[in-house]
Amino acid sequence: MSQPKQLQPIPSLKNPQYALGYWQKVTLSIWLIALIILPFADIEIVNFDPFLELTRMANGLVTPDFFATEYLWQAIMQTVNFAIIGVCLGLVLGAPLALIYQHPLISSCCAFLRAIHEIFWALLFLQVFGLSPLTGILAISIPFAATFARVFHDIINQSSDSPLESIDSRADMISRFTYGKIAQVMPQLMSYTRYRFECALRSSAVLGFIGMPTLGFYMETAFRQGNYSEGAALLMIFIALIGTIRYWCPPKLLGVYLVIACVTLIDIPHIDSSLLVRFITHDILPPAIANAATLAEVQWSSLTAWFSALFLEQAVPGAIATITLALLALAATHFISLSAHMMASKHLWPAPLTWLGRFSLLIGRSVPEYILAFIFLMLLGPSMLPAIIALAIHNGCVIAYLVVKQSNAIAPQEMQISRLNQFNYHIMPTIYPSMMALMFYRFEIIVRETAVFGILGIMTLGFYIDSNFSEIRYSNALILIICTALLNVAIDIISRRLLKFEQTSQASC
């Protein structure tokens, strides 16, 4: 558990007069927290003979069957369509919000919307729009809009004010803002949008797990039913799709793609507005209220009994499991980020080896956590461990991918020291703060993503939400979704208070 320490210079150990540095304290506390909660977490390894199934999986991986999936081309198209329309709608909704994001009401609303996983948005919209593309598009664009609002706001806030001084003071506000502020951060905004597009592709695939006609639909079926050749082929297609975004979707063509996406989107079926009315006025109300004719008839005692049972039996244990899983995953993510960054850094290895490293980063960040957890579940048994590992691999690779981009841009001074020393004493200290900042941004996402494992059977809040949807108890599901969102917002506030580091906006998805 002490790996991260080896990678950093630790002056304090040699010189007692040196206090621990800020980042060392933060790093140590992450690991300390993880060690404290480890005994309470369910990480038992149970397995007798996973090898029969693992052999089948490996067999599938080396004999991918690209023709096993029906309507494959359509699935790929819809995956891309949902992502493109989702991101564009997210931009349209989110960019204006960035301008008023400083308002506490706006920022907390956005934090709330962002905290709800795409899968839950989709499960909610599914009740109203059914399996219409609208369900998938809204499920992507709402949380994405809230994220765009925050990150764009941060980026604009950090931009320099000096260009404003060179603009004639008589110029109108819009011109001053456009040329003085937006113009200088435009490349950042563009590159962040491009990055979010990659995230949207992943989200779009994940929505397939609950029935949207994207690649995930077939991927989940293939893995669940043990058709590993088909599953492997779909994974390869998906990884290739993500790895080659910059070739097939240059920013200039985004508009063209948007038009194509709108044209080729599957038909939006007729929307019945009465379903929406029924959903809001009946389905999501607590049974005691929904069944009563008038307000006077509402049995308040049964309402409180309903709420306290839901809260104590589902929300509290779910929240505890969610936090435990997230904190352990955070420590594991730290470890994976450090090692994965090392693996792909050009400062340590000759070029061909770094390509290999970057290729593994691509695989690590493209394979949906659900699939990773699925594989580790076979290997390690049904505890929290597969989820921790899946979260760590996925998030660690995303962080390492972003950090490698930054660290490869560093041009170290020519010094007479070995590559390893240069990496440890020059590159790492330079890059570490931004790696940690990224990791804390990712923490919010780790908490959200624990939801997905609920659907695999790990008893996080997502598990209870999924159960309530399958028992057609939408009111319970909604309360638990709100609990999840509030938990996320609380974590966000606490972590911001505790770690008062400057807001770098290398945000993540």
């Binding site: 007798f48 029906e70 058709n227 048994g381």
Partner: protein, 288 residues
Amino acid sequence: MKTLTKLFALCALTLSLFVGANASAATFTFTAIPDADESQLRTRFEQVALYLSKQLGVEVKYVPVKSYSAAVTAFRNNQVQLAWFGGLSGVQARRLVPGSQAIAQGYEDQFFKSYFIAHYSTGLALSERFPDITDKTFTFGSKGSTSGRLMPQYYIEQHLKQKPQQAFKRVGFSGDHNRTIVQVQSGTYQVGAVNYKVWESALAAGKIDTNKVKVIWQSPTYPDYQWTIRADVEANFGAGFTDKVQAALLNMNSPELLKSFPRSAFVKAQNKDFQPVEDVAKQIGLID
């Protein structure tokens, strides 16, 4: 949140103006999730749609769904008018859509059963009596499954006098009958509950190593899968449409089509056949 919901309502209403026109009312839509093989779902069930379309003289469309709850939602929202439901999802659907009827079930579904299967390391063997599985690790199938969840849970509570969460060391939901077999076979869980037909077809296909996993108990029989149709099809597709659909289903005897479900034939069914399922679901608290 309020304004947001209003905004959605507004968006939805505006959109419905644009798309309302091309939604054809004359398409009869159905959905089905087979209990075993879910690959090539659309390709296979579009054959069924073609058959129904010929028999009924209306356009018939198949919509693939991922889960029983999604099927229930689609049925409730009139996005499908006919559905091949499991026992429990059928009960849920008929409660939500008053007047809807179960019209046919698979021949095998009249006396369906679940198997409890165990990993060899538990030392459990096939017995008539309910096996002693307290404090083992246990996996159900999917949460909404009748043969993989509802009935097994009922018999567990009846015999062990405890909720599964208390009776077992660990309770899981594999999500799928094939998964349950794989997970018990590899020892991930010690005991599991599985749909007997899925078990038998996996056994016949040589996917099961009987040295590693075996059946230790079989449940009493209960009714399971059935076709359920909405009441308002009579208004939209003409009087007597329900009977026509029923006749078309009962006459479906091409092995090719029946293989998709997979059932040997369809026989008549009615709502009250599924009363036992509803009672059990209420008893274990899955429905209110």
